[in-house]
């Protein structure tokens, strides 16, 4: 602490350490991506560069099906989570009612308990009702763990909200519905967006819950890979995984930028 910390510079030791950690974090991702361009069918050594697998993956119907399942489940569960989650956050912000505290703490249950417990609870629940696992059970399960994150994110946004801004809209002649559309919604939109992105990431990332609540027809890509690892994974899986990695990152980067813009304006 010789000088003021304000003037911050990289120290060589720190740079080295940070690079090492980043390498650790990115190495497996690079490996997955690299082998999607490998001519060899085995993911062992890199023998030559090819785009072949990006064409071949479309022929693998089961693989494509699992990919679409992943995307559909993520998309639908995110939309549902955002709608109910945002409504819930608004209700918690606007109204006082008896079980408010109970509700807000039970929102933390899916966040806190290990997903495994929650997954087998849903498995027991669906099975005992004689519901066989399908896309619907998968989507329901995903909404259950991602919706609380939407509520919490939107609620955090609302907490920093001056109530008189809504009153100002009423005062200037807007009725309740117009106030919501012209003032409340635009103001919470960065929170809704980031809550939605969180829900999307959680759904795309999920393995444990899907493992128990997906049926044979609704396998997701990660589950497919899990099933293949032992026997050896073919490079078309790498190709599809690469697409998924790149796709996720592009979507999230874009939304982060949009969110940043929205917030900067306010």
């Amino acid at each position: 602490m010789k000088k003021r910390r304000k003037v911050r510079e990289f120290k060589p030791g720190s740079v080295f350490y940070a690079c090492l950690i980043y390498l650790f974090l990115y190495l497996p991702i690079f490996v997955v991506i690299a082998f999607s361009f490998n001519t060899s069918k085995m993911n062992i050594t890199f023998e030559g560069f090819t785009f072949e697998w990006y064409g071949k993956m479309f022929e693998n119907r089961q693989l494509m099906q699992s990919f679409f399942n992943t995307v559909i489940v993520a998309g639908v569960s995110t939309v549902i989570s955002v709608i109910i989650g945002t409504l819930c956050a608004l209700g918690l912000y606007k109204f006082e009612f008896k079980l408010k505290n109970a509700l807000s703490s039970s929102l933390y249950i899916p966040i806190v308990i290990p997903e495994l417990v929650f997954a087998i609870a849903l498995l027991i629940f669906f099975t005992s009702l004689n519901i066989s696992m399908n896309m619907a059970t998968l989507i329901i399960s995903h909404v259950t763990f991602s919706m609380p994150f939407v509520v919490i994110t939107v609620r955090a946004r609302l907490a920093g909200f001056d109530r008189s801004i809504e009153e100002a809209a009423r005062d200037l002649g807007a009725n309740e519905f117009r106030t919501f559309m012209r003032v409340t919604l635009p103001m919470i939109s960065p929170g809704v967006l980031s809550g939605g992105m969180l829900a999307l990431t959680m759904s795309l990332d999920d393995v444990v819950v899907s493992f128990f609540t997906a049926g044979p027809e609704s396998t997701t890509l990660p589950l497919k890979i899990l099933g293949m690892v032992r026997k050896g994974v073919s490079p078309d899986v790498n190709a599809l995984s690469t697409l998924m990695i790149v796709g996720t990152i592009v979507i999230l980067l874009t939304s982060t930028m949009i969110q940043g813009r929205l917030e900067k304006k306010m």
């Binding site: 911050r8 497996p28 991702i29 997955v32 806190v112 495994l116 417990v117 498995l123 919706m147």
Partner: protein, 284 residues
């Protein structure tokens, strides 16, 4: 009267769907778990509605006790390594030049956004006996025969640390960010050396982040069965795999339910300890 009716309608319309959803797909399923833990498994892999405590009694069998101890030990190792590796890393990011900081945080978030199973699969590829790392080691001449790396306990630990490191780093990073630099200057001004500034000011003030990070690492690590499946080849049995097996291969649902309840209890105890030092809001 009309006002209170409208208010009720408003409450139902906003929080109603969430309440119903959580009741139907969270609370009731959890109650089912508790219920089933007292029932008897039947020969067909289902359950008979006969009350029993024997599922709980079987927890005290030494084989299960070993699974629990192994799992808790693995989670503890994971958490400690994540803290030791993650704290300096979080500190470096938090103190990086302002221009770089958002980029460095983003770089930390990116892998977190991509599917953890795909990333674990990447490690699986790397560590194989005939995999890249072994090739590299042999090429450099560090070893003349391939090392057994995959399907070892070490590989499981690596996979766990890898999957959970961002969960440890982010809360710590947040708490270091909140640190007021003038406090460090004050400590220096009052005669504390670099070590003491760290142990007497920085460390205590970032404790909430350390606790939140530890909890967020420890609890999920108990249930990550797919990592031990992919990296450990199911050589050592962990609680996650044990529970999974009760529902898939062994078909002993009551035992699986009991094991899950044990996980919930462990979680509750940890959360109880945690809420004494931090708040739930820091977790999300």
């Amino acid at each position: 009267m009309i006002k209170s009716f409208r208010k009720r309608l408003g409450i139902l319309g906003t929080v109603g769907p969430t309440v119903l959803w959580l009741a139907a797909f969270l609370m009731i399923p959890l109650i089912y778990v508790i219920g089933i833990s007292f029932l008897t498994k039947n020969v067909y892999g289902g359950v008979d509605f006969t009350f029993t405590l024997s599922n709980y009694a079987s927890l005290f069998q030494s084989e299960y006790a070993k699974v629990f101890l192994d799992s808790l030990w693995l989670s503890l190792e994971t958490t400690v390594i994540c803290l030791l590796v993650g704290y300096p890393f979080a500190y470096i990011i938090a103190n990086a030049p302002k221009k770089w900081k958002p980029f460095l945080v983003l770089l930390l978030m990116l892998p977190f956004w991509t599917n953890s199973l795909i990333r674990t699969y990447g490690w699986n590829t790397l560590l194989r006996t005939e995999g890249i790392i072994n090739h590299f080691l042999q090429w450099v001449g560090l070893t003349d025969h391939p090392l057994e790396m995959l399907y070892t306990d070490g590989a499981v630990l690596l996979g766990m640390v890898y999957a959970l490191l961002p969960f440890t780093v982010l809360p710590i990073h947040t708490s270091i960010e909140k640190l007021d630099p003038s406090l460090l200057e004050a400590a220096g001004d009052l005669g504390a050396g670099r070590v003491h500034v760290f142990t007497r000011v920085i460390l205590p003030l970032t404790m909430p982040g350390i606790f939140a990070g530890s909890i967020q690492t420890f609890i999920p690590s108990l249930g990550f069965f797919f990592i031990s499946d992919m990296m450990g080849g199911a050589k050592t049995m962990y609680i996650g795999n044990l529970i999974k097996n009760q529902f898939l291969s062994a078909r002993n649902w009551p035992l699986g339910a009991v094991l899950s309840i044990v996980l919930i209890v462990i979680t509750l105890i940890l959360m109880r300890l945690y809420t004494k030092v931090g708040s739930l809001e820091d977790m999300a």
